[in-house]
């Protein structure tokens, strides 16, 4: 399964998502209230355990984590 789909499944299974179909690759997870200060570290733990990467504190940024597309790109870059 590609990274985007693994991330999407994790998010819709572990966070409140009113309409999973409406969460596109570029939907802001912050703006939609899906991931905020009560969830971001769960996402990081998932990425680290699933994809074998280590996310540094300074990488915990919306630029890397705010959409499924950005998360997939970030994971891809870390694994390269």
């Amino acid at each position: 399964m590609e990274i985007k789909e693994q991330v999407r499944q994790f998010i819709v299974s572990n966070f409140y998502v009113a309409d999973p179909v409406a969460v596109g690759d570029e939907t802001s997870l912050l703006d939609q209230g899906i991931i905020d200060s009560t969830g971001v570290l769960e996402v990081i733990s998932f990425l680290e355990s699933t994809f074998g990467i280590v996310v540094a504190d300074e990488e915990m940024l919306p630029d890397n984590l705010d959409t499924i597309g950005r998360i997939a790109a970030f994971v891809g870059k870390k694994r390269a």
Binding site: L30, D31, D36, S37, T38, G39, V40, L41, E42, S45, D57, M60, L61, P62, D66
Partner: protein
């Protein structure tokens, strides 16, 4: 009285009560909230059980409410109170002078623990207390924007996920804490699992302990340096 009314009244009167202390307050510094008394009481209880002279850091000190409360209730303590902004440092200095605590409260200014570089406190601090900004930037611009009507953004804005300052303090505190020294945070509602994870990822702390308010919400998270 609503929180908004309490804030407006505190600024109008220039005074606020925190525990049993009468503190000065001024625009540029957060009006101490009632929930922060839980962090103060928890720190005071912890320090009261420790022997000898005690070194305490109040990081992100705001108006100096935690520093002044700890110095007032724990006579064998010396507290270093630090904040980034001119407004907070000025109000803290006035409160320290007002309560005649100048011999036991040192006020510093800087970017978190950079303010304590060269202070000789490395590996010597018994307790760090920190009530950091912990509201996410997005919430502060939307559902909590009323907070900025009277008080400074720096007092609330915890970065994109509301955890930026917690994260930095967890990382920067260990060089200053003695082995067995404690770091105590106030947290926002529902943030305890995230702050637990921050401590766990740092690997230099014991398991966390939570303190709850009267409504059963965790508002203080603490851990000791291993």
């Amino acid at each position: 009285m609503s929180e908004d009314e309490r804030v407006r009244r505190a600024y109008a009167e220039g005074r606020v009560r925190f525990l049993d202390l009468d503190l000065e307050i001024a625009p540029g510094a957060l009006v101490p909230r009632r929930e922060t008394e839980l962090l103060a009481r928890t720190a005071i209880g912890l320090l009261a059980a420790l022997p000898g002279d005690l070194r305490v850091v109040d990081m992100c000190c705001g108006s100096g409410n935690l520093a002044c409360a700890i110095a007032s209730f724990i006579p064998q303590s010396h507290v270093w109170a630090s904040d980034l902004t001119d407004g907070c440092v000025a109000v803290t200095r006035r409160n320290v002078a007002r309560l005649d605590l100048g011999a036991r409260v040192t006020v510093t200014q800087g970017d978190l623990f950079a303010a304590l570089a060269g202070s000789g406190l490395e590996a010597a601090v018994d307790v760090v207390v920190c009530n950091p900004p912990y509201i996410s930037t997005g919430r502060l611009e939307k559902e909590r924007k009323e907070l900025l009507d009277h008080e400074p953004r720096e007092a609330f804005d915890g970065g994109p996920y509301g955890l930026t300052i917690h994260q930095r303090v967890v990382r920067e505190a260990p060089p200053f804490l003695r082995a067995g020294g404690s770091l105590l945070f106030e947290i926002g509602l529902g943030q305890e699992r995230q702050v637990d994870v921050l401590f766990r990822r740092a690997t230099s702390y014991t398991a966390t302990v939570h303190e709850k308010d009267a409504d059963g919400h965790v508002r203080v998270v603490m851990a000791k340096k291993v």
